[in-house]
Symmetry: C2
Subunit: 662 residues, 2 copies
């Protein structure tokens, strides 16, 4: 049988937005964002309603309130600016504005029904009820109101006193919120620091940073390379695993099964007699070296990001200290990580279905906190889609409850729903399919999904142009022009993007028929010539400066696609909400041939009149063009400039701005 409610909550509050899966997962925002919340709010009958957005940071015990207002068709909206890097709760409360409901009724009857004595008594009773709750000055004010009320010479005068709007603030402060109803759920928003949304990543292997081709690189060498990274405009420097590397079944060059004695092995096969996930490969240096590097990086505005790869080599200390954390077969052997028929003979996977899984969870949390203790606040997580989703949800929340400024990047290249649920479960940023989206329709479709579907509430893309595992076909075949326009796409479509080092050198030699780099850095130490001819360091530097100077490029959901009448030319724009920074970007997606198109400039969105002359300031080449009206013809030659980033500049000075005009 149904139960009667304990208390009548008769206002319907439903279809709250944003809300993910009925509040199962939090949405995400960044510090300084305005959170807009809307809902259907209504009640039987004709009472006037009020509604408030209620919110609190999770370390607060009381709720704050922001007013909500009726928009249309029983839809209400309100907002709050999120000022702290912490998790907030939010929900909605609604109530009947009793006194104003009465005023409305009185207004409708006034002049229609002659005798309103009984109505006026009802209103007076409401004011008396307020008086009972009021204190101090409000109490005096209510008394004076009632005195005017009873002192009024006739019904007309009494009505005037009752309906005088000057009393409404007093009413709002003192009246009982009648039929007070709370939304059924408390929702959550994770408020990250801005870098969770806007970040520029450079990935490099520390062991390849030696200026001396006869020895491997160290953290000290990395320190010397910081100015290179900073000067290009990157603010996150990400290292693949820096831990001791296993010796058993160590991989040789180009992923061969036999390593020579001098091969360093894959850094993803973690652990040997020097330690595991919480140790440093001795050839890279000491903890002191690492700590000094972190400090030096921070001093020039760069954060060090570490890889979190839960891969144990057969030599990892856990194999001996915690044998139950691995899956043993009936013959006593431990299973290698595998994706049949592929085997990773240098890696044991931890068994997350071990009866001792709670110990594994705790240990992984300890490892993350260990590195946080060494100043690392950004983790790129390797293959999260091969570990249980509830583990990540727990781990990220545990860490962020202590350190809300920690950022986790999900390296999941897998089916779409798994990628999404990892983001919902807590990952701050996510790798994407950008790597394989090359042409106009597929880029448009994917970006609309990322920026306009529900994903916008929780999935922050990080567009990597390449990774040590992925040298995309378009770069292999398109060469330098492709390297140029792909980095422009990455850096202007998404506020977070990254390159794996050697991208700036347009390195594009692959193992034939694959997307693997030839002589992959995963299995050998490289000594790159950073000044190699044909490099695009200056080009990337320019892009990153444009991103830094133009706040519109630091946002995701402001992306809009516009019409360019050529299937090879992608045309899109980003503006800040206040319209003070407006960018239009055109990219020739064909690395082989020049294309031209008429761009349809969204002058109405930009507030430009049909007959107005404005300036398109191309920022990569620093050239300026005067345009009148809504079309602009453009030719993009991949051998010269495959992309254009226009800052829209209006002429705002008029004769009226001149002091002597008047």
């Amino acid at each position: 049988m149904a139960k009667k409610p304990d208390r009548l909550q008769t206002i319907i509050i439903e279809h709250v937005e944003p809300e993910l899966d009925a509040g199962r997962y939090p949405i995400k925002r960044e510090v300084g964002d305005r959170l807009d919340v809307s809902a259907d709010i209504f009640k039987e009958g004709h009472d006037l309603l009020g509604a408030v957005l209620r919110y609190q940071a999770v370390d607060e015990s009381t709720w704050h309130e922001a007013p909500m207002h009726h928009v249309d068709n029983d839809r209400w909206a309100g907002s709050v600016v999120l000022t702290r890097n912490i998790r907030y709760r939010y929900t909605i409360g609604a109530y009947v504005r009793g006194f104003e409901t009465w005023c409305e009724e009185l207004r409708k009857k006034h002049g229609v029904l002659p005798d309103l004595t009984s109505e006026l008594l009802e209103g007076e009773a409401q004011v008396r009820a307020m008086l009972e709750r009021a204190t101090g000055a409000d109490r005096e004010a209510l008394e004076s109101w009632l005195a005017q009320w009873s002192g009024a010479p006739d019904q007309e005068a009494r009505i005037a006193v009752a309906l005088d709007e000057q009393w409404l603030p007093l009413v709002h402060r003192n009246e009982e919120r009648w039929a007070w109803t709370l939304y059924a759920r408390e929702l959550e928003v994770v408020v990250d620091r801005v870098r969770a949304r806007y970040s520029t990543w450079y990935e490099m292997f520390p062991r390849s940073q030696s200026p001396d081709p006869n020895r491997s690189g160290t953290f000290k060498d990395c320190e010397a390379r910081l100015s290179y990274v900073r000067d290009m405009g990157f603010d996150v420097l990400y290292f693949p695993p820096i831990h001791p590397i296993g010796k058993t079944n160590r991989k040789g060059r180009n992923n061969s099964l036999r390593a020579s004695p001098t091969d360093p092995g894959s850094p993803y096969a973690i652990g040997n007699e020097h330690g595991g996930f919480d140790a440093i490969d001795p050839s890279l240096g000491t903890f002191d070296d690492f700590d000094r590097l972190v400090k030096a990086a921070n001093a020039v505005g760069i954060e060090i990001a570490l890889d979190f790869a839960i891969n144990a080599s057969p030599d990892h200390p856990y194999v001996k200290t915690h044998p139950t954390w691995f899956k043993h077969r009936p013959d006593g052997t431990i299973k290698y990580a595998e994706n049949p028929p592929k085997k990773y003979e240098d890696i044991y996977a931890l068994d997350f279905y071990s009866p001792d899984w709670p110990e594994i969870w705790d240990e992984m949390k300890r490892i993350i906190l260990f590195w946080v203790g060494h100043g690392v606040k950004i983790f790129r997580v390797d293959n999260p889609h091969t570990k249980p989703v509830p583990f990540w949800e727990w781990l990220i929340r545990e860490v962020q409850d202590l350190h809300p400024d920690v950022i986790f990047l999900s390296e999941a290249f897998t089916r779409p729903k798994m990628m999404r649920v990892l983001a919902k479960a807590g990952f701050s940023q996510s790798y994407t399919y950008f790597t394989w989206r090359n042409f106009k329709q597929e880029l448009t479709d994917y970006l609309i999904e990322l920026t306009q579907s529900e994903m916008r509430e929780y999935f922050r893309p990080n567009f990597f142009t390449n990774t040590p595992d992925i040298l995309p076909e378009i770069l292999q075949q398109g060469g330098r022009p492709a390297f140029k326009f792909r980095v422009i796409l990455a850096g202007t479509l998404s506020p977070s993007y990254g390159i794996y080092s050697s991208y700036e050198l347009c390195e594009n030699r692959a193992v034939p028929g694959t997307e693997e780099y030839l002589d992959s850095e995963k299995y050998e130490i490289k000594h790159w010539d950073w000044d190699r001819p044909g490099n695009i360091r200056d080009y990337i530097t320019r892009l990153n400066a444009i991103r830094r100077d133009n706040p519109a490029l630091q946002e995701l959901t402001n992306l809009r696609f516009y019409q360019a009448d050529n299937d090879h030319i992608l045309f899109y724009g980003k503006s800040t909400e206040d319209r003070t920074n407006n960018l239009l970007i055109a990219v020739n997606l064909d690395p082989f041939e020049a294309h031209e198109a008429t761009l349809h400039i969204p002058i109405h969105e930009l507030g430009i009149r049909e007959d107005e002359t404005y300036q398109l300031h191309e920022l990569l080449t620093d050239t300026r063009h005067l345009v009148t009206g809504g079309t602009y013809h453009l030719r993009l030659n991949p051998q010269e400039e495959p992309a254009a980033i226009f800052l829209v500049r209006r002429w705002t000075r008029r004769e009226q701005n001149f002091d002597y005009f008047f």
Copy 2:
């Protein structure tokens, strides 16, 4: 801090459909329906998954299971036929098919890796685990499988034994469902009897059914009118309130404030010294008369529906017995029902915010159950949107828990979200905006919303052509042609529809400038001439026979609109899921002029070849047309036939069906 889960449930089950507001409200179906359920189901890694739809009637303690299958992109689907008129729960369970995951791995490695000894041991261990759980014949079968396994002469033979699919049913019966995960919510579906979806209503005032113009009608007179109602094809006969009518402030003819001594008053002002909601107006007869009428109606396939109007006249017994159920003003008077500045001086509204509201709820339940005791299973509820929604949710559930066959029709003409939430809260059927949707685009938009949006899961429209309160403008102005096509629209667009008596007489005299009937039956006793010239009884009879003979018209969500190249001609169709009954309907929405259009027949949906000749059998006029191809030209003259209902008939007999052909 986050808590670790008590048990690892690592399979993600999300985006279950159908699901209303995260399970806050039940969906609705009817007995015999197949419930299709789908969800995103996936897990980390590469394990093969299984999933089941779990369901139980609320009076059952164990769950039934129906298999779900993978559709595409991690979407799974399953279904169950709902056979009982009761509320069901449903949810989803998913698990890893451990043995088949192992088989898959073995298949991938077979021929690639030479030594699979360790793999085969793993599989054998799984079979041994099954053996531990198995009993009886399964136990023996598993033992014989293991014997074959160990008796196999070599690895190849052992692999063949392991992968032999004949063992899979045995595996499915005995293997542990590994990583068993339940969806977070149990959802509900209210399974009503079919009449909740498919019903044909006739509304009449019992007091107007007297054949003698000198006295008011009685239940006995109603009994005599049953054959008239049945012959036209109606199966629900709905009476406005039959209770004693108040005398204080009784309304006179045409809603005048002064009643003459002979005026009967509005039946919506309920209660006098003869009783209230659970009494019968003595002028209509006795409970014996009523019970006899109910039985006589049932005997000819008609159900009596009563009005449930929570309006107390100032003379209702509650006013004395339960004064706290009414809102008293400071001067001691009770407030009339009002919609300022309109007042209903003959009605007191019950105060659902009285501190004694739980008593009111219980009493309303008692009233409904009282009438259920007198054989009434259908209630048309007056103005539900002026009472708290939680009250209806509780009341309907309480009643249906005892009597799942009770149907509630919501008479809410109000804003769209309130209409929807009343349906979600439990109303079986709902009045709609059909009354005011006249033209092609607005009819199409509204019907698409009703049949294709989420509303299809919970909102069952009942298209009334008119009510005692509403004589729509189109009928006032369009006359007999409008009466004809509006009833065709009502009866073919919606499986439930109704007319208020006198519709068949094309009665269309209104109070000028309003949608009120002139000399409204609400305030006086009428003596209609049911054989009045120009009546459309035969036309409605034909429509209802067509509805009865064609199951496609007894469904809602099968409605599809098709192209007719004339803005005044609406063209749509309905088919049964098995395509054995296919109807196409064309209606001229202009009551004044003839229009013609080319209809684009959906031959591909109907499975008709481009060159095939088929028959359109027009059912209102019983005329037949041969058509070849996808277009058909039609002219509809409102003075003759404003609408056409085509049954699509294919020629299925071929020479091959003839015995001697071969």
